[in-house]
């Protein structure tokens, strides 16, 4: 028996009017299923931040989400510039967002750390000049 639901999204680049649509849709679906509210909250934050990062930095990308009773997996893949220094990118307050993006309220340098905090596992596969693939898992049971 296969209890896994999977969904795919295209995240458009540089389109801030549509940023957040994928995470919003995933949140809506999880609510409909009646998923654990804390897991929904963490998925919504982690995925929104990932989506926004792809819009700001990578010219968009793709999101793949798998929902099973035990966990939610999110794979966000882009062909953007890659992350030069992951440790630095993970640091709260560090941001490379351009000024026009900061004017929209982004660039607090919290995105990556928000993703890390909200997910139970997070793997970053990045190559400078090639792109980034981010895998995050949120377990249905609350992270301790």
């Amino acid at each position: 028996m296969n209890n896994t639901l999977s969904f795919d999204y295209i995240v458009p680049g540089d389109d801030f009017t549509r940023a957040g649509e994928a995470s919003s849709d995933v949140k809506h679906k999880l609510k409909q299923i009646g998923y654990d509210p804390d897991a929904i909250r963490r998925v919504a934050i982690a995925m929104y931040e990932g989506e926004i990062n792809m819009v700001i930095h990578a010219g968009g990308g793709k999101a793949h989400v798998e929902i099973s009773p035990e966990k939610i997996e999110m794979i966000l893949a882009d062909h953007g510039p890659g992350i030069r220094d992951i440790d630095l990118a993970m640091r709260e307050g560090y941001s490379t967002a351009p000024d026009k993006v900061r004017a929209l309220g982004f660039g607090a340098g919290m995105g990556m750390s928000n993703m890390k905090k909200c997910s139970d596992t997070m793997e970053i596969d990045t190559k400078v000049g090639k792109g980034t693939t981010l895998r995050m898992t949120v377990l249905a049971k609350k992270k301790q």
Partner: protein
């Protein structure tokens, strides 16, 4: 307290989400940096901000805030208004600043 009551008591103008004014307000939060707010905005909070763009609507809705209260007469984008209407998410407007309104909400929720 409902969003409707909040709007009446603080003399807020309703810009969007008229059908959702019965949402419960259990607290407040202020902040304008979206990632910061994304990680800290409590559920059912009235969020006081000057950030009136579509992404603010996305953050508030994803976090299940009770409403957005635009303070200091901050502008609300056309596309943000469109999004808020589509989600029927309450967005309110005030001439007062976030600090003044926060004080009043704290008093009302005491």
């Amino acid at each position: 307290m409902t969003v409707q009551e909040l709007a009446e008591k603080l003399s807020l103008k309703v810009l969007a989400g008229r059908e959702s004014l019965d949402r419960e307000v259990t607290g407040g939060y202020t902040g304008d940096l979206l990632s910061w707010v994304m990680s800290r905005l409590p559920e059912n909070a009235a969020w006081f901000t000057v950030m009136g763009n579509i992404n603010a609507v996305a953050v508030a809705s994803l976090k299940d805030a009770a409403c957005i209260v635009l303070t200091d007469s901050a502008p609300f984008d056309e596309e943000a208004l469109e999004k808020a209407r589509q989600l029927d998410f309450p967005v309110l407007l005030s001439e007062q600043n976030s600090y003044e309104l926060g004080l009043k909400v704290a008093e009302l929720l005491r």
